[in-house]
């Protein structure tokens, strides 16, 4: 039975990934989340979708290195096949500019926290030469933009980190996938305007699984964002600075 660990299991994207996994095959899920009540609801849902699915629920302080290290060691007693690191917050950029503690929290929860989790998994997977770490980054990490650069900076950190981890594991049995979703319709983005054009979370989840299945290193989901971000990354500053994005 595949052992799948999901960090931030109550995130809509992660939950939809878990549903697809559960419907596809019998899995053991280790679900790590803050909100245990919601996590229990997800457990019941997954076990209804597949009566052979098993769920174990864990709670942890997402910013405490010692607690993360201890938990991932414990969770990895059963070798981990896939670790999906999906937690994050999307604060209002202007609020980050005004409130430094929110700014710091944003950087920690979207940047150093996922890195700590990935590093903890890497430590467990390296000696086994087995496992797949999937990190949810963001297109926001590709180029700093005035509308969300604090969040973008944290996601940029994850991007650079994943690059290094991929280099480290290049010739081993451990895989690392960095997923960069574009704007997706989830509770995290519900406060934003014009969510009509946002991608459907279930379709995004399906593409995340495809990326993991085909062991891709970087996956933009939906795929069109690869092209859009390539253009945005290469826009000359004189043009870029005129844009309200």
């Amino acid at each position: 039975m595949k052992h799948i660990v999901i960090v931030g299991a109550t995130s809509a994207m992660a939950e939809h990934c878990a549903r697809i996994w559960a419907e596809r095959e019998d899995c053991l899920f280790s679900l790590i989340a803050r909100d245990q009540e919601r996590c229990t609801r997800i457990q019941k849902d997954l076990e209804t979708r597949n009566p052979n699915a098993q769920c174990r629920l864990y709670q942890v302080n997402f910013t405490d290195p010692a607690a993360i290290s201890e938990l991932i060691t414990r969770v990895s007693e059963i070798p981990v096949d896939i670790a999906l690191i999906a937690h994050g917050t999307l604060p209002d950029q202007q609020a980050c500019e005004e409130d430094l503690s929110l700014c710091e929290h944003t950087l920690t929860i979207n940047g150093s926290s996922p890195v700590m989790f990935a590093e903890a998994f890497a430590k467990q997977m390296a000696p086994l030469d087995h496992g797949h770490i999937a990190l949810i980054g963001s297109v926001a990490g590709d180029r700093g933009r005035k509308s969300n650069y604090v969040y973008g900076a944290a996601k940029g950190l994850v991007t650079r980190y994943a690059q290094g981890l991929q280099h480290r594991f290049a010739k081993t049995g451990v895989r690392v996938t960095l997923v960069k979703p574009g704007p997706t319709k989830t509770p995290m983005t519900q406060a934003m305007a014009n969510t009509d054009s946002f991608a459907d979370v279930h379709e995004v989840a399906q593409q995340i699984l495809n990326a993991i299945d085909s062991r891709r290193e970087i996956a933009y989901v939906p795929m069109k964002w690869a092209l859009i971000m390539m253009i945005i990354r290469h826009l000359p500053r004189i043009v870029f600075n005129r844009m309200n994005i």
Binding site: I42, D45, T48, P51, Q190
Partner: protein, 433 residues
Amino acid sequence: MTKIESWGRLSTPAHTLVTLSSVTNAPDIIANTRGPSLPYGNGRSYGDSCLNPSGTLWETRTLDHFISFSSETGLLTCEPGVLLADIQRLLIPRGWTLPVTPGTQLITVGGAIANDVHGKNHHRHGSFCDHVTALELARTDGKRLTCSKEHNTDWFTATAGGLGLTGVILSATIQLKATCGPWLTTESIPYHSLDEFFLLSDESESEWEHTVSWIDCTSQRGVRGIFMRGNPSPRRDIPEERPQKLSLPFIPPMSLVNRLSLPLFNSIYFHQQSKRAGVQIQHYKPFFYPLDAIKHWNRAYGRRGFYQYQSVVPRKHREDATAEMLNEIKRSGQGSMLAVLKTFGTRQAPGLMSFPMEGVTLALDFPNRNTTTLKLFARLDAIVREAHGRIYPAKDARMPRELFELGYPNLPKFQRFRDPGISSALSRRLTGS
């Protein structure tokens, strides 16, 4: 504010969207929303029953968790945003199916209850809420009620078919029906008169679980159509085909269904189906949900959108009222390929405001041609009124208030169970609040 349209695409009013992200915080959100609000599922109601212009819509689609399922008893408990498609996809392979399902599976459980939807097997299994054993309701005054046919019965019968106006459903328990698999034995039979249709319906009801018919509303040579009936098939040896994904990716400037194309389409369809008449083994998806295969099929009617007119008339007037309505439609030259004629069985409806009653129901789409279309509806209304029939609110965007009151004699009783914080475009149009 976000622009939201219903399935008929007649208008795109602006709404404040509030996502109910979990059943834990939903009651608080509901209680603290200011102004008239309305629960909103997958937006598949045709008219204005799912709209609340300038008001709030509570999006329930995100409340989409399964809560429990017993493969021994077939009892399923889930949140209201679960799609019927999810239930069918997951549980048919495990031997259980929804006992009643409408012509699309892309609706939420909450929506199915709020409209007490019916299907092709009404003569045998009644409507959706006949199989709902319990539901939990959250009201805007902060109260939560567990309702069933034993407890809070009044609330249950008001919520079944209550158009979302009695509160927000937080969970529902449904008694599923044992099934042998995803296949059906189906038979299609061309018919050439209304008498023939009623004869086929009456004789099929004892032997066949599902009956429905497609009717050609344009035929100049009397009434004609294709009668379809189906029973679950125990076949398990057929591989399932991968579904084709079709979509109408744009909105055509004018309706693709018009005076020129319609008789042609209908004639081709009738002759094609007549050639294919006979018994076959069919997957449940094309049999129950043929239109779900085309994403955004509602765009085919162009920018102005479309109406659906669905009425039911009691058994004793079924022949003459149906003939008169078909005549009016034919004379008007309006209508579409999507025309359905189906008999309802004798079962007493579970909700105060349920649509089904013993008799025959006719459902037709009409591209919106403004007053021309509305004038035709007024003539159809007269026939329905005369026959003591009623119109289906889930499809309606225009019925006169007086016809609604006549068709739904339980309305005054239902009004007592309304949640004062909930209102829709339809409820304001037809009840004043």
